[in-house]
């Protein structure tokens, strides 16, 4: 019985949620408030992981992250088959959910209120931080929960880029699959229970926090 998959999963999910949230929020602000050429192209690209089979996304990432890929060359490190690769894969899979939810929330912010902030001396970045983001916070938080959920359950793309190396890159979903394949039902039961508890605790505390507002 080992708890390594739980620790790896928490690590991967936390980093992936953080990455997807930051990148997703920036993209959502840009897409919701900007007017530029190729806007719908960017939106379609960002949404693709939602529709493509995870293994296809994993395959793209495999080429991008490898030593010969653009990212691998840029940083001259090989991320493949390490837990950061799993985190990146999960973040890419979670990104569209974050972007969609927060973009809708940002678009729902009354533009008159943003204009009011401008007449009261706020430059664009300050309008964003003081007005737009606080007013869209519920939708942004919902996007983060969805991103977290997607990252926690990520299987296919992670398997492609990070493999299934016990104690290194084996996350809970992969470990559960392995355990079932090997007939180790006690291990599977424990991990299923653990991941259910984590998911329940996160969603429950977010809901509690939101009700307090």
């Amino acid at each position: 019985m080992t708890w390594q998959p739980l620790i790896i999963s928490l690590k991967v999910t936390a980093v992936a949620t953080a990455l997807a949230s930051l990148a997703g929020l920036a993209l959502a602000l840009w897409l919701a408030r900007g007017r530029f050429r190729g806007q719908s192209l960017v939106e379609t690209l960002v949404s693709l992981p939602l529709v493509l089979p995870p293994t296809v996304v994993g395959f793209y990432l495999l080429s991008a992250l490898g030593r010969e890929g653009p990212l691998g060359r840029l940083f001259s490190i090989n991320l493949l088959f390490t837990w950061p690769a799993a985190a990146i894969a999960s973040a890419v899979m979670a990104l569209p959910l974050m972007v969609r939810a927060s973009k809708a929330a940002i678009e729902g912010v009354n533009p008159e209120v943003e204009k009011a902030a401008r007449t009261l001396g706020s430059a664009e970045w300050e309008v964003m931080i003081r007005v737009t983001i606080p007013l869209a916070s519920r939708g942004i938080l919902a996007g983060m929960i969805l991103a977290f959920a997607r990252a926690l359950g990520e299987f296919g793309a992670t398997l492609m880029v990070a493999g299934n190396i016990p104690d290194k890159t084996q996350t809970i979903p992969l470990a559960i699959y392995d355990a079932v394949q090997l007939g180790r039902l006690d291990q599977a039961n424990a991990l299923v229970l653990a991941v259910t508890l984590v998911a329940f605790a996160v969603i429950w505390s977010v809901n509690r926090a939101q009700r307090g507002w």
Binding site: V113, A116, T119, L120
Partner: protein, 365 residues
């Protein structure tokens, strides 16, 4: 002192106008969609004109010529107070936080917020959120918030249109007091004539992106320059005719075969003219009394077609016998007591007089 001379094209709509405003309340009055709010947005820097000049107290906020923008100060550095149509309060901030927003990071913010709360009679509501306020309270918060930045120019976009009349009158009085006290230039947009009259020193009538007329409100009201102004300021009776004779200041106009005498200058025989008379200026002649000289002018006999009452007043629709067949020719506004004394309800035949001093000949066709 605000100077503006701008042009802006938005699809089919073309805004093109110029005016100046001193330390006064200038009302921009006109129908919905005339471009009034667009003007405010250009002044505040929320919308960029295609060309022209916007200057406040000698400082150029915007200047563009021949498609080249020479100067464009962004909205957050213009320091112009703006009260939005639906107030646009920050829903996530309390009343006090809303008011303090414009002065954030400045010394003495707390005291200033308190003074504005008191000035706008908002004590006790500091900790409330905008959603917990009435319309009139939200409006006062919006004004207090705009005053926090100590603007030289305060712009108000239909500020009272969503309020009931009692609250509206009270707020109008307060705004008037504020303007006098702080020496502000207030530009006030409305499509309601009553609001325009309650507040303005001067009135600019805007129609379809153009300035139809600007001047003291009484002058605009009594001597509209164009048909559109006459219509917007409530003159229902606008007619076309041709000048028959000019005798000094007196002109005789052929109105569909009826001779009408009016006072006007700069007209010649044969000119096509438009003239108008306000509904409240039409006199109904009492049948039982000998007529005085003043109401012998431009007599028309005919019949009352129908009437509408609004409590204190009656609007009567009058058809003249001598004019070509129509549903009615004149709209007449009477106080209720006059309506009852004249016995119009029963005697539907009557005679009206269009005093020549009450007839206004429009300078432009």
């Amino acid at each position: 002192m605000l100077e503006i001379d701008i042009a802006k094209r938005l699809g089919d709509f073309h805004l093109r106008l110029a005016f100046t405003a001193g330390r006064e309340i200038l009302v921009l009055f006109g129908p919905c969609g005339a471009g009034k709010s667009l003007i405010l947005q250009c002044i505040a820097g929320l919308m960029q004109p295609d060309q022209g000049l916007i200057r406040v107290n000698g400082q150029t906020f915007f200047q563009a010529e021949g498609g080249r923008v020479l100067q464009n100060v962004p909205a957050h550095r213009r320091g112009i107070g703006y009260v939005f149509q639906n107030y646009a309060l920050f829903p996530h901030l309390t009343v006090a936080q809303n008011i303090a927003y414009g002065g954030r990071g400045r010394p003495g913010l707390e005291g200033k917020t308190r003074r504005l709360l008191e000035r706008m009679r908002l004590q006790g509501l500091e900790a409330r959120y905008p959603a917990q306020l009435s319309g009139g309270q939200q409006q006062r918060v919006a004004i207090a918030r705009a005053l926090m930045i100590e603007p030289a120019v305060l712009l108000l976009d239909e500020p009272f249109s969503a309020l009931d009349s009692a609250v509206r009158e009270k707020l109008q009085g307060e705004l008037l007091g504020l303007q006098r006290e702080l020496g502000l230039s207030v530009i006030y947009v409305t499509h309601l004539l009553a609001d325009a009259f309650a507040l303005g020193d001067r009135m600019a009538v805007i129609n379809d992106g153009r300035l139809e007329q600007i001047g003291p409100k009484q002058e605009v009201y009594q001597r509209p320059a164009t048909r559109a102004v006459a219509r917007f300021t409530g003159t229902r009776n606008i007619f076309d005719g041709q000048v028959l004779v000019v005798k000094g200041r007196e002109v005789h106009i052929n109105w569909c075969g009826q001779r009408v005498t009016a006072l006007a200058e700069g007209l010649a025989q044969g000119d096509q003219v438009s003239f108008c008379i306000r509904p409240e200026e039409v006199m109904v002649v009492r049948p039982d009394r000998p007529r005085g000289d003043s109401i012998k002018e431009n007599l028309l006999s005919g019949s009352v077609v129908r009437e509408i009452t609004r409590g204190a007043t009656y609007t009567i629709f009058f058809r003249a016998d001598a004019l070509p067949e129509a549903d009615y020719h004149l709209e007449i506004l009477l106080p209720s007591h006059a309506y009852e004394r004249l016995g119009l309800a029963s005697a539907r035949r009557s005679t009206v007089s269009l005093k020549k001093t009450a007839i206004h000949v429009l300078p432009k066709p």
